[in-house]
């Protein structure tokens, strides 16, 4: 009886064991690429373990390529230039690369694997991107659906960024949300406060990250983010400035304006157009009025598109585009800084170009 069970059991186990050993041996010889050289921008050289994707290998070297989809080849943020050592374009990459990019050797770093000595090129500023751990120090309500988050850095304990840049906040798993996602938010504080960042966030209905920030994150909770990212920062051109923002688009503009020295504000005479729907969507009015008093030359123009009766609003009314049309001069020599929803960006862009502002003097961050 025992034999009747033992023999089949043992023989099956033996068969499985033999096959497992074969697989282990094969893994050892086939999937071990040993140590290979990874050269970045022709200057930095790393000795890394082969066999992993460029994205994850760089992450191990503390170089963070922007990525929102977690290596699933959907977001196309993680493009790098492959100089040498990589094979043909993969079928998972083709839908996300333009023909020019393919010719230039641009690849998705989450798809290509390092199997031998390779060389890549990435933008210089990516070297400054780090992963930070931080603590939620203060959470302040700005309106019924916008909050102001102060994050105190733990490790590393200081950050270098340019006013106007953004970070990617990593939402941890919470509630019945079992997937960790990244979302981009701009800093609204000045970079000289090196030990913290401040974000303005508007609650997105059913949004994975904002639901976490609004309903689950408590003061003193620990969070993770990477950054800084983005090409949206003050250009040192000396030109007059037009700043336009809607809602939480105020964040990078606030950072930029508060970073400018008093004399420069006097010289460049920035005008800040801020669009909201009604009085209850407006915030930080007092702060901006104060800023106006302290900095001659600066003008703050809040505009409401649909003021309620009880708002008793006496300021500008109409959509932000209408307000711009009224206030911006034809062929002005200013440059413009825009931040807001994609729809607002598109609309403002067309108003400003119609006014004769060349597109290369209009700066914005689409978060794309």
């Amino acid at each position: 009886m025992i034999n009747a069970l033992l023999v089949p059991g043992l023989s099956m186990a033996a068969l499985a064991a033999v096959l497992a050993v074969i697989i282990l041996i094969a893994e050892r010889y086939l999937l071990d690429y040993g140590e290979v050289d990874l050269t970045i921008n022709d200057e930095k050289k790393f000795r890394v373990k082969g066999g992993n994707t460029v994205l994850s290998t760089l992450k191990d070297q503390h170089i963070f390529i922007p990525s929102a989809c977690g290596g699933r080849a959907t977001c196309a943020y993680c493009k790098v230039k492959a100089v040498s050592g990589f094979g043909d374009i993969l079928p998972t990459e083709t839908p996300l690369l333009t023909e020019e990019e393919i010719v230039d050797g641009i690849r998705l770093s989450c798809q290509i694997k390092i199997k031998n000595d390779v060389a890549i090129e990435i933008p210089e500023e990516l070297f400054y991107i780090k992963e930070f751990r931080a603590r939620a120090a203060k959470i302040i309500d700005l309106t019924y659906d916008i909050k102001w988050f102060h994050l105190e850095l733990i490790e590393p304990d200081t950050i270098e960024f340019k006013a106007g840049q953004y970070i990617q906040f990593q939402t941890p798993e919470y509630g019945n949300q079992s997937e960790s996602v990244y979302r981009a938010y701009s800093m609204c504080n000045v970079p000289s406060a090196k030990n913290r960042i401040e974000l303005m966030v508007r609650l997105v209905p059913e949004g994975i990250c904002t639901t976490y920030l609004f309903e689950y994150m408590k003061e003193s909770d620990e969070v993770t983010f990477t950054g800084p990212f983005g090409e949206f920062y003050l250009r040192d051109s000396g030109r007059p400035m037009i700043c336009v923002a809607g809602g939480t688009g105020m964040a990078p503009i606030r950072s930029i304006l508060r970073t400018m020295p008093r004399e420069e504000i006097e010289k460049r005479r920035p005008v800040f157009f801020f669009g909201a729907r009604s009085r209850r969507d407006l915030f930080m009015l007092d702060e901006w009025r104060e800023f106006e008093r302290e900095n001659p030359g600066f003008t703050f123009i809040p505009a409401l598109s649909r003021p309620d009766q009880e708002d008793e609003w006496e300021g500008e009314t109409g959509r932000i585009t209408e307000v711009l049309t009224r206030h911006v001069d034809e062929d002005s020599d200013a440059e413009a800084y825009l931040c807001g929803s994609p729809g607002m960006l598109d609309a403002c862009l067309s108003v400003l170009t119609q006014k004769g502002l060349p597109e290369d003097r209009i700066y914005y961050d689409k978060f794309e």
């Binding site: 989809c69 959907t74 019945n176 949004g207 729809g343």
Partner: protein
């Protein structure tokens, strides 16, 4: 050709369906729906054909609402044919969970037919999932649209 071809993944025994289903569950697109993804797709496809709906036409009208409504920058826009559209748009993109390399704008569209008061609410990601995959999301998902609702909204207008 492109449209109907894209959508044919719901008919094939596409083996990626298991992977996609897992992804959809992680992202809460199937919230409390315990039915397998293939069943969800099948039952909605049945409803679509029973109601004799032309999804290509319906989704292109939904897209038109988005395009027109965006001009309101968050405020309602009234169209010539008496629809009131409010588009709420946020910065950034949402990668489609279907592993189809599509990134949707973060936009939620609310439309009211001023002639009869019927309303419709959808997200641009939801629009993409219906258009490209015939996926109306699982029961209980925040952006689930019943094919019946969609049909009724576009009826006789």
């Amino acid at each position: 050709m492109t449209n109907s071809n894209d959508r044919d993944s719901r008919h094939t025994g596409d083996p990626r369906i298991a992977e996609i289903e897992q992804e959809l569950r992680l992202g809460n697109y199937l919230k409390d729906d315990d039915r397998p993804l293939a069943r969800v797709l099948e039952e909605d496809a049945d409803a679509v054909s029973r109601l004799n709906m032309d999804l290509d036409e319906i989704t292109s009208r939904m897209k038109r609402f988005y395009d027109l409504g965006r001009a309101g920058l968050g405020d309602p826009v009234v169209t010539d044919d008496d629809f009131e559209i409010t588009v709420r748009e946020d910065r950034g993109i949402i990668p489609s969970p279907w592993r189809d390399h599509y990134a949707a704008p973060k936009a939620i569209i609310e439309v009211t037919n001023l002639k009869n008061g019927k309303t419709l609410k959808f997200s641009m990601l939801g629009w993409h999932l219906i258009r490209a995959h015939g996926f109306f999301q699982g029961k209980g998902s925040p952006f689930r649209i019943e094919p019946r609702e969609l049909h009724d909204f576009f009826e006789e207008t």
